[in-house]
């Protein structure tokens, strides 16, 4: 371990700072999985599980009593449930996006965060999937939504955006899960080999599928991973487009907007990245992975947050313009009502969180300040939740006929269910941190200088 003078080939920033050797990387990343859990982990897992039980009790109460326990009413048939659904799906976009798109663009810095982000995706989509499931009036006949042969000779209505949604979200979940698992296999193999106890060997062994790092395997593996990435990229875009169809394909003023698909996708990336930043900032502190999840990575993501934030801002403006330009009185009213109607507060929270707060990222200092970006990312998450609230509720509560205008007030069940969904999310996430490598080890190694086989002597050829 003498010479550690690493020559950074063509890279402005080291992807792994301090130039450790492969073994150290393995040790460092495997360490959280191998040592017994720290107290903060135990505390937070207990906390999140108790919040999860809150969710479960709320869902039970809902199914027993009926959807009436929520604040929904006649004009406003969709409330928190759908808002939360879109919110979580949105968050669920960063993961696959980072893994897939950045992978296709050969953005090497993704390696330190993609595993992390993919896990977040999967857990977020689980939370998202929960809500459409429970928001229907008769949960026990939810299977009507799937094309199952039955003695009624009936099939679902494939003209309905909601059905498209069922397919989109379930496909997205499945593909993300596969993508994630495929990425995990070599690392699980590493953990298997490092395991000291029989039980761990067997458990990790089962999921490692007997991976042994053979080059013939790597060949197919890389190809398949590339293809998955290529498939996941349009999938990511399609999923949130289809989610936006739920609104865009209806004819409600404020919903019936052609800008929705790109606008929703941008919003999804926006919120997704914000959530990743939130989680990473915490994780790298707690696990001392500062030299792997580097400030540079965070900065890159903040740049993306800034960019997507402005896209979203543009969409807000464009909606207003179109409402005015269309000359349609209902459209026009719907948007004026958003900004100045009974729900004006929601609208302005949305604008200030989503459009104004990211603007600070123009300044490099702020972009690179951990506490600052943490706060901003939280703001963005709040703002994006309110965006969905604004779209769903304010469009519904005052539509065409003034005679049936109303006002929607969430009940405690609404709120607790929303809070509870975070319990579900964090429970899953903490379990992930404890039992799986939170960083794609083999990919990290792949981008380390040691991985470059074409280095000739004298050009930073590192000996182990």
């Amino acid at each position: 371990m003498g010479d550690t003078s690493v020559n950074y080939d063509l890279q402005r920033h080291p992807l792994v700072e301090g130039g450790p050797d492969l073994k150290t990387v393995s040790d460092v990343i495997s360490q959280p999985v191998e040592v017994k859990p720290p107290t903060w982990w135990l505390i937070s897992i207990v906390g999140s599980i108790s919040i999860l039980t809150l969710l479960l009790s709320m869902v039970g109460y809902l199914v027993w009593e009926g959807v009436g326990v929520w604040g929904l009413n006649n004009p406003v048939g969709w409330g928190f449930a759908i808002v939360n659904f879109v919110f979580w799906v949105g968050i669920g976009h960063a993961g696959t996006l980072i893994s897939a798109i950045l992978f296709l663009f050969r953005q090497k810095w993704r390696t330190s965060i993609n595993r992390f982000a993919e896990a977040m995706t999967i857990f977020a989509v689980i939370c998202a999937g929960l809500f459409p499931g429970i928001h229907i009036g008769r949960v026990w006949v939810a299977y009507y939504l799937f094309p199952i042969p039955n003695s009624m000779w009936l099939w679902p209505n494939f003209k309905s955006p909601l059905l498209w949604d069922v397919f989109a979200v379930s496909t997205y979940f499945t593909v993300s899960l596969l993508f994630w698992f495929v990425g995990l296999v070599p690392d699980l193999a590493m953990l298997r080999d490092r395991s000291t106890t029989k039980i761990r060997k067997v458990l990790y062994g089962i999921f490692a599928l007997g991976w042994r790092g053979a080059n013939r395997h790597w060949q197919h593996y890389e190809r398949s991973y590339l293809l998955l990435a290529a498939l996941a990229t349009p999938l990511v875009l399609s999923v949130h487009s289809i989610v936006s169809f739920d609104f865009a394909v209806s004819q409600l003023p404020g919903w019936h907007t052609t800008i929705f698909p790109p606008y929703f996708v941008a919003g999804a990336i926006f919120s997704g990245f914000a959530m990743v930043v939130t989680l990473m900032v915490i994780a790298r502190e707690l696990f001392g992975l500062k030299h792997i999840m580097t400030l540079h990575h965070l900065e890159c993501m903040n740049k993306i947050i800034l960019a997507t934030g402005m896209m979203v801002g543009y969409a807000y403006a464009m909606e207003f313009f179109m409402a005015w330009y269309s000359g349609n009185e209902y459209e026009a009213f719907a948007f004026v009502n958003r900004a100045f109607g009974p729900y004006y507060w929601a609208y302005w929270i949305m604008v200030s969180c989503n459009v104004l707060s990211p603007q600070f990222f123009w300044f490099k200092k702020l972009r690179r300040s951990i506490p600052f970006m943490f706060v901003i990312s939280i703001f963005v998450n709040i703002g994006m939740w309110f965006e969905r609230f604004v779209i769903t509720v304010t469009s519904l509560h005052r539509d065409f006929m003034p005679s049936s205008w109303g006002y929607y007030k969430p009940t405690f069940v609404d709120v607790c269910t929303f809070i509870g969904s975070f319990g579900l999310f964090f429970t899953l996430f903490l379990l992930f941190l404890k039992f799986l490598p939170m960083i794609a080890v083999f990919e990290i190694k792949g981008v380390m200088p040691q991985a470059n086989p074409h280095a000739h002597d004298g050009e930073g050829h590192v000996k182990n």
Partner: protein, 1031 residues
């Protein structure tokens, strides 16, 4: 007696419904079985749920629960269909064709109002009330009270058996006791015998009453109705010396002047009035010779909202307005009055002249001159006698006799009838206090609750030894009486009724009495002779009919047609003068007045009726509550907003009640509606709203003066079904005045701002078979809301209760939208019924993921409850927001629900009371929670029509299929039928220039269209209305 043999024949005819107690239906349809107790069960657990009462609902629920387990529909836990038992008749009876409803003609009395109805009987239980076309007061129409009376019949909170001091007694005990009473009083000629009755209109009752008075000359009889027409009756008497009841032909009048009269609303005879008025306002029927209406009233009523010119004026000033008007007419020499009268009128007019809205008055006088002989003056029952007296004179001189006729009151020989109700109740209490009375019989009513506050009924009752209350529900009075006797509902008793126009109609039972009840006539018979049942009594009254005639009477429900006109000949100015001389000179000080009005609960007798409690008030759209209605000006003056609780004080008495600010309400005036806030009513009606009877005194019975109003600071939540009053300049309700309409007949179609959307694909064309469509004529519709109730009764629509209305979850399939026009007290309102539009390109259909709402080939937008998973997406995408979602199972949440024996874990804990279940329409699925529902164009009626027509190989005739709302509508504003049939009424309606679709710009291709409303304002005042016209 002569009717013995046909009595037996009657008995036979009634057998299916008379044979057994209600809970054991004679039907052989298992889903009518309301109790599982006779069933032997093949599979003990989870079996036999299908013959649980509302099996349709339970089934859906069980399906729901098991569907999760079983991929196939309709299999239960035990993998076998559960056992259902079928009960055929033991003995066949006539008319027992299963699921073919029978209609029995009967009639309902409400105060002095009599309406002939047809009771639809399914398997021996009445499930719907329709109007009787051959009855002069109904002509096929029904009002909200007739429709909802059905629910009272089945009300599980009814007085169920005779009780003495709270202990159970049999009907026989009571009869025996009453017999004893009558014999012991026979000696004393009825000394100490006293009867207080509701308004009675039954010939049989009066036949018995005559015998009663002969037998007990010293007995005292009083009659009390808090809502009555005394002033009209006595006013006309004061000038004619006869007890005349007027009958106005609004369809023949060209000019209608209504002084504080809500003749289209809740006043007696409103059904007929509405029909006539609507005919007079129908541009086609009248060839654009519409009548014009001026209304002077303190609070906005449906009548006021139909007016061409409305003057908001304090109720107590209406008469002064009249004096000024009369004075003007005297100047114009169109009326002549005896000089003495003239002097008095001018004297009174002078004091008010400066107050009156001058151009309103000028226009009115001008029109009166213009339409001489075609003018109709009508005043409300709250206006004092002299007003009615003067109006009688005006009508006689300014309108031809075809516009109004008068009939002598059928029972004028009975003093307690002609005596005014206020006097009657006062004397009643006084008489009791003398202590001579030992036995007091109260037929219906609730004097303790309803009497004016200065009449101490409770105190008076203390002087009486035996107190009997014959009542439908237990109420305040019955708690102060020792004998409480259940009173028969009109749908379960024999009788007859005489309408104000002199026509008599029959009351015949449609179901055997549910409880040990007595009808008023039966009670009287106990007093005058031995007990004989309602049918014998009735037949005896009409013994002139042969059995053959009698049968046809029962069939038509009409016993005698309107008596021939009587035309008031003599009139004495003395009477009128006497009345006028009593009038105080008008004082200029600004006092606050309180006016009392009837409500959807009438005088409170319907307070336990959920349908009426939840029916939104026509103007305020309030449910489950009454309020102190105040004008916008008053509100700002006292800095009040709707919901602020205030203390109202008049002289020594006060109540706390929240205010509701209503445009169109005159300032310095408060309107209180009666019938709410009952202490004893039943599980539905108890302590709903606020009791305002304490504010009524015998000396200010209709209006109270010099009220003070103090804000308490408390706030009370009001459940109004329409928070937003303005139309936001969106063209939903379209109307224009006559001249504009004649110039631009297509104005309604031209009122759309936005270009219609175009379709991207070739849409389905509905070109064959019956294509159902509906037109709602806004020129005819008055906003009376009977359509809502009729729909609720027909389609098993649950009530949701105040809390849920507050949450915005009311379930009415057809709602009546109310939009205000204009500002402050001069504001008026328009009414627009809205149900599912049945769009051919229905936005709801394409968004449903499971195809639970799809289109029928006959153009109906069908809702399939058993397929619905409840995403509510369809409701979100419905531009008219007519879809209603079952957020809970409202039938089980009904306060009258009872616990049920559950079949499985997911089954509900409660179910509607068995009696309530008897009301359900078996041809409409009872929806469970979690499914969407909405207007179906009464698909069950369409299907009935189709199968009838199909069975005798013919096409459906126009008008053969009527929707519930259409059938009930007194204004005949709704037409329904095949829009492809060139001869159908609906086609003709859709052909009109003024026909238009709402939200047409969305390319809905709706099957429901509207006919724009046409008003006929005075050209000089027109500009006022003009601005509102395009609201």
């Amino acid at each position: 007696m002569s009717s013995l043999e046909d009595l037996s024949e009657e008995e036979k005819r009634k057998k299916p419904m008379l044979k057994k107690r209600f809970y054991r239906s004679q039907s052989d349809l298992s889903n009518d079985e309301s109790s599982g107790r006779f069933k032997e069960r093949e599979f003990q657990e989870g079996a036999a749920f299908l013959d649980a009462p509302v099996s349709r609902r339970t089934f859906l629920k069980l399906m729901g629960a098991t569907a999760a387990l079983a991929g196939a529909s309709g299999c239960s836990f035990n993998f076998r269909k559960p056992v259902q038992t079928i009960y055929p008749y033991a003995k066949r009876s006539e008319y027992d064709v299963a699921d073919q409803s029978l209609y029995f003609a009967t009639s309902m009395a409400l105060g002095e109002d009599v309406v002939g109805v047809l009771a639809k009987s399914y398997e021996g239980r009445p499930i719907k009330i329709e109007g009787n076309p051959s009855h002069s007061q109904s002509l096929g129409a029904t009002g909200i009270f007739q429709q909802s009376s059905l629910l009272d019949l089945y009300d599980p909170d009814r007085q169920k058996n005779v009780s003495y001091l709270g202990k159970y007694r049999s009907k026989e005990d009571f009869s025996a006791w009453l017999k004893g009473v009558s014999t012991e009083h026979f000696a004393t000629q009825g000394e100490g015998l006293c009867i207080l009755t509701e308004a009675q209109t039954s010939p049989t009752f009066y036949r018995l009453m005559k015998r009663f008075q002969l037998k007990f000359p010293k007995a005292k009889v009083f009659s009390y109705e808090p809502i009555n027409n005394d002033n009209r009756l006595r006013g006309i008497y004061s000038v004619t010396g006869r007890w005349y009841q007027p009958d106005y032909f609004y369809d023949k009048a060209r000019l209608i002047v209504s002084l504080d009269s809500d003749f289209l609303g809740l006043e007696s005879g409103s059904l007929l009035a509405t029909k006539r008025f609507a005919n007079g306002r129908d541009p086609e029927k009248t060839q654009n010779k519409l009548s014009r209406m001026y209304v002077c009233e303190p609070q906005l009523t449906v009548t006021g909202s139909k007016a061409d010119h409305r003057l908001a004026i304090k109720g107590l000033r209406v008469e002064y307005f009249l004096y000024v008007l009369v004075a003007k007419l005297l100047d114009a020499r169109v009326v002549t009055l005896p000089s003495t009268l003239v002097k008095q009128v001018r004297r009174l007019a002078f004091s008010y002249e400066k107050e009156v809205d001058i151009d309103f008055l000028r226009a009115l006088v001008e029109d009166i001159l213009k339409y001489r002989k075609q003018v109709l003056f009508v005043a409300g029952p709250r206006q004092p006698e002299q007003v009615h007296a003067l109006l009688y004179l005006l009508n006689k001189q300014l309108s031809s006799r075809t516009l109004h006729r008068y009939r002598s009151h059928a029972y004028q020989q009975f003093s307690f009838v002609t005596e005014s109700n206020v006097t009657s109740i006062r004397n009643f209490a006084a008489h009791l206090k003398t202590g001579v009375v030992d036995t007091f019989l109260c037929l219906g009513g609730d004097p303790v609750y309803q009497a004016p506050s200065d009449v101490d009924v409770v105190g008076a009752l203390k002087f009486v030894k035996n107190k009997v209350h014959v009542t439908l529900h237990e109420n305040d009075t019955s708690t102060h009486c020792d004998w409480v006797v259940p009173r028969s509902h009109y749908l379960e008793s024999w009788g007859d009724l005489k309408a104000s126009d002199g026509s008599s109609s029959v009351v015949q039972p449609v179901i055997r009495p549910l409880y040990d009840s007595l009808s008023d006539n039966e009670c009287m018979s106990l007093l005058v002779s031995s007990y004989s049942d309602g049918y014998r009594l009735l037949r005896a009254t009409w013994r002139q009919f042969s059995n053959k005639q009698w049968r046809s009477c029962l069939h038509n429900g009409v016993l005698s047609v309107p008596s021939s006109d009587e035309w008031g000949v003599s009139f004495s100015d003395r009477g009128c003068l006497k009345a006028l001389s009593k009038v105080k000179l008008f004082k200029r000080n600004q006092y606050m007045e309180i006016g009392f009005v009837s409500s959807f609960l009438y005088d409170g007798r319907f307070s336990n009726n959920g349908w009426l409690q939840e029916l939104p008030d026509s103007i305020s759209k309030l449910t489950w509550d009454n309020a102190a209605l105040i004008g916008v000006e008053t509100a700002s003056k006292f800095s009040l907003k709707s919901g602020d609780v205030v203390t109202l004080r008049v002289k020594d008495r006060d109540i706390d009640i929240p205010v509701f600010v209503l445009p169109g309400h005159v300032s310095d005036s408060i309107t209180l509606s009666l019938g709410y806030g009952r202490r004893v009513a039943g599980r539905v009606g108890e302590r709903k709203g606020f009791d305002v009877y304490p504010m009524i005194r015998t000396d200010d019975f209709y209006f109270a003066e010099k009220a003070t109003l103090i804000k308490t600071g408390d706030v009370y939540p009001f459940a109004s079904t329409q928070e937003h009053g303005s139309m936001e300049d969106r063209p939903f309700y379209r109307q224009a005045n006559l001249s504009h309409y004649i110039k631009h007949p297509e104005f309604a179609k031209e009122m759309v701002e936005v270009e219609n959307l175009q379709s991207l694909w070739k849409e389905r064309e509905f070109t064959d078979g019956n294509q159902w469509g509906m037109v709602i004529d806004l020129a005819r519709c008055t906003g009376c809301s009977v359509c809502t109730i009729a729909c609720q009764a027909e389609n098993n629509i649950p009530i949701v209760g105040k809390e849920e209305v507050l949450n915005g979850r009311e379930m009415h399939w057809i709602r009546v939208d109310r939009y205000f026009e204009g500002e402050g007290e001069s504001a008026t309102a328009v009414h627009q019924p809205v149900a599912c539009l049945h769009c051919e390109t229905a936005p709801c259909e394409q968004v449903c993921p499971v195809a639970a709402t799809v289109h029928g080939e006959e153009g109906t937008n069908d809702m399939v409850y058993n397929r619905c998973v409840g995403t509510r997406y369809c409701a979100d995408n419905c531009p008219a927001k007519v879809r209603r979602f079952n957020y809970f199972d409202y039938h089980q949440r009904n306060p009258q629900a009872q616990s049920k024996d559950r079949v499985h874990f997911f089954d509900y804990l409660k179910e509607p009371d068995p009696t309530i279940q008897l009301q359900f329409n078996p041809n409409v699925t009872v929806r469970m929670r979690g499914v969407m529902e909405k207007c179906s164009f009464c698909i069950q009626r369409i299907m009935k029509g189709k199968s009838d027509a199909g069975n005798d190989q013919r096409d459906i005739l126009d008008g053969e299929v009527q929707t519930a709302c259409q059938q009930a509508c007194p204004a005949e504003a709704i037409s329904f039928g095949n829009i492809l049939d060139k001869n159908s009424e609906v086609f003709k309606k859709k052909d009109l220039h003024r026909d238009y679709h709402i939200l047409n710009e969305l390319h809905l291709k709706a099957r429901v269209s509207y006919s724009a409303s046409i008003t006929n304002p005075n050209s000089h005042l027109a500009h006022k209305k003009e601005s509102a016209a395009h609201g």
